[in-house]
Amino acid sequence: MLQQLFSFKGGVKPDTNKAPSVQAPIGTAPLPRLLVVPLHQSIGGMPNPLVEAGDRVLKGQLIGSADQWLSSAVHAPTSGTVRAIEERVAAHPSGLPTLSVVIEPDGQDQWIERQPLDYQALEPERVREVLRDAGVVGLGGAVFPSHAKLSAAKAVAMEELVINGAECEPYMTCDDLLMRERADDIVRGSGIFRDLLQPKRVLIGIEDNKPEAAAAMKAAVERLGENFEVITVPTRYPAGGAKQLIRVLTGKEVPASKRSPEMGVQCFNVATAYTAWRAIAHGEPVLSRIVTLTGNVEQARNWDVLLGTPLRDFVALGQARPDTNGYLMGGPMMGFEMPGLDAPIIKATNCIIASSARLFPPPAPEMPCIRCGACAEACPHELQPFEMYWFARARNFGKTQEYNIFDCIECGCCSYVCPSHIPLVQYFRFAKSEIWSREREKAMADAAKARFELRNEREEREKAEKAERLAKAAAAKAAAKKPEPADNATPASATSGVDAPVDADPAAAKKAAIAAAMERARQQRESVQPKNTDGLSIAQRKEIAEIEARRAPLQARQTALDTENTEPQRTKSNDQ
């Protein structure tokens, strides 16, 4: 069947430089002396550490559990001893530290008991949980938890599942080699995604500069009897961007304001599909990934590397040339410079490029924008980068939003073609982060204002209630003084009792209803909101547990007293 291809506007064609790293097959990187496994390796919540220093861990043992739905688990990449749980430099351009589990391998590489599952016998929801707990995230570099992408939109039928093997970034070949060598498991993993999403078609997109990978995938699809379509797409950066590949294969344009399932399409990277299959069918969580080591090295190659391997150990495999001046993580278009050799390989690390002044010359001095419009022509999202630049520079962030700055995917095409050598992407990142921080500030100010107003309201209400109670008590006193033995019920008990609604005073009834509603809301909040004891270290938790134990008897007594005092109100709220 002849597949009709669409095209996206813009894009650039830099030299791909992929040849050096595809000469050798995927190698297995040796065990390093220490592994530094950051707990936060995906989009979403920070996993909680489950081990403490001194613990012996097995290969594949959970060391950080997903703390909410949008989060992903982290595992020990090999067996050994936990040396520390501490802040270590992150594989992030900021170079800021992040909570990491430091493991000293024992060299035995001893697995936990693996549990292969037949996913077809499982509830779909259970499959998603297994993927979350196996740490399966988008390995194309975005590290979005995959299980959270595996639900079709309620109102829209899933039409296409796109499996992304385009790999448009220059230098990078990890997906290429993975497809060449492990095509079967990629196709099987895509089958899991297909079964969860129930799309009409499964499209595997591969740039036409990887004929071997495309052939391997085609053969695997045939061998496994699937009806997936392997489609080669023209090589043009950023054809591997999810939105661009979806556009090329399906003709659909997913705007920034929408999620792709709302348009009946979803996209996964080939490596993600591979790890999903290993997780389900072999019980192997994500412990390693394929990383391209290339650039200014003697031995460019792809390696299967344990997560947490320090950059220092990894780059030693490639023998960097003497004029190497740094290491990029990711491709040269969207990657960043690693903050140091201590930073670890993480799930997002698809490629490490040794850089040199020869490969990536320092940028020429920035000139003024001459509005030539080359950036607008190159922009795959058809934005007007020079206008956004103009307003970002002037700190007119409202205007940058009018020019759709949040549709920018920071692919770098605009900077690539700019004759004035303006680091446009930097301006856009700056503008976005400014807008975010202003919105955060505004949200915080709004919340503070709401809290203040609520407190004022509550104080006034309490004052009024107190005055009312006092007045009633005084009235009751006065009534008690009068010799009327026939009437035992005091007015006070009438208002607090079950027959309160019968009371003629509607204002009091309303007040009671409000108070009850507030109490319900408070209880709901408490049950939903995370406690401030989450995300603490093991030692801190132990301490807290001891304190709690001491407090328990006291608290039991206190609770008993409280229950007595607030009995009527509690019964009421429990009725709801």
Partner: protein, 338 residues
């Protein structure tokens, strides 16, 4: 740690390289000019270049901007060449210098320098000079120019009186004047039959300058330095208006071909309305900008008091650029059906 930023790959392009290609694209036109009038044309270009570069250097120094970086971008030289080619050949040297100074100092640097000028500097120079020195700016030499380089040099340097033989009107002006003098008794084809002034399809000799600019412009388009929108729309603006009037009244109006290859039409189409700084940036905006400038240039040159209308038309459209850009923003990825 050094703070480097992605992308680490940068295309081998620069403002300087763009400007050099624009200069290269002017060479065919200059060659025809020299063939028609002799080496004096090169002297004019040299005067303009020196004046512009000195003015640029002075302003950069005054504004504390990096001298080598900005002088090296070549934008001042492009302005200089456009001024030299837009001004009448054999203009006295000081006329060109006045134009050059005004273009660089006022139109460019007082508005913020490279990339900031709302008006095309070369067209500002032309407009200022034609308003201030209308007689000098209207004197165009005939193509069979008498005298040699020495006589021409004396004219440019102002050491010899300006002779009638050395100056005349542009073909456009000649046509307009002839039509006015004839008061309806002469039809345009008869006037254009005068082989002393008119050639195969426009002014004698000058028509080939237009052809050379066209070739240079097409090369720029092929090199993707300019897009087709503005030049096409500009030529369409002139062509549609002149075509309509010519079809209705061929005796009273010259053909579109005559207008397209006369005056500043071709220079304007490929080297003036394509100026990215002062022109529109969106594709539809470029079309509107180009068409408006072309139509207005035609109206001014045929019905107005000036020999040609390109400069005023472009400047008037420059004023409209922010508005046109604002209303012609193209829809972005994923928002085309909204």
């Amino acid at each position: 740690m050094n703070f480097t930023t992605p992308p680490y790959l940068i295309q081998d392009v620069s403002v300087q390289r763009i400007m050099l290609q624009v200069l290269a694209a002017l060479l065919p036109g200059i060659a025809v000019y020299v063939w028609l009038l002799g080496p004096i044309v090169l002297l004019q270009i040299a005067i303009a270049t020196i004046a512009c570069v000195l003015a640029e250097a002075g302003m950069l120094k005054l504004l504390n901007k990096p001298l080598a970086l900005f002088l090296g971008d070549g934008s001042a030289i492009v302005t200089a060449w456009l001024i030299a080619l837009a001004f009448p050949p054999l203009s006295p040297w000081w006329l060109i210098v006045v134009g050059a100074l005004f273009a660089i100092v006022v139109a460019k640097h007082l508005y913020g320098g490279l990339g900031q000028n709302p008006f095309n500097p070369a067209m500002i120079a032309f407009a200022v000079c034609i308003v201030s020195f209308p007689a000098l700016m209207s004197q165009w030499p005939p193509v069979d120019l008498p005298g040699g380089f020495a006589e021409h040099l004396a004219l440019v340097m102002g050491t010899a009186p300006r002779l009638d033989a050395m100056s005349g009107a542009t073909p456009l002006d000649a046509l307009k004047t002839a039509l006015k003098l004839a008061e309806g008794t002469q039809a345009v084809p008869n006037i254009l039959a005068d082989a002393r002034t008119f050639g195969h399809f426009a002014g004698r000799g000058w028509e080939w300058v237009g052809v050379a600019y066209l070739l240079g412009g097409l090369w720029l388009w092929q090199r993707r330095i300019i897009s087709w929108h503005a030049p096409f729309a500009f030529l369409a603006g002139i062509g549609v208006l002149s075509g309509a009037l010519w079809v209705v009244n061929p005796a009273g109006f010259a053909s579109p071909i005559f207008h397209l290859f006369s005056g500043g039409a071709m220079l304007g189409a490929f080297f003036i309305v394509t100026d990215p700084v002062s022109g529109c940036t969106t594709p539809r905006g470029k079309l509107i900008f180009g068409f408006g400038a072309g139509a207005l240039a035609y109206v001014i040159r045929v019905f107005g008091g000036y020999p040609d209308g390109v400069a005023f038309a472009v400047l008037l459209l420059n004023i409209c650029v922010p508005l046109i850009d604002l209303y012609t923003q193209p829809p972005i990825f994923g928002m085309k059906n909204k």
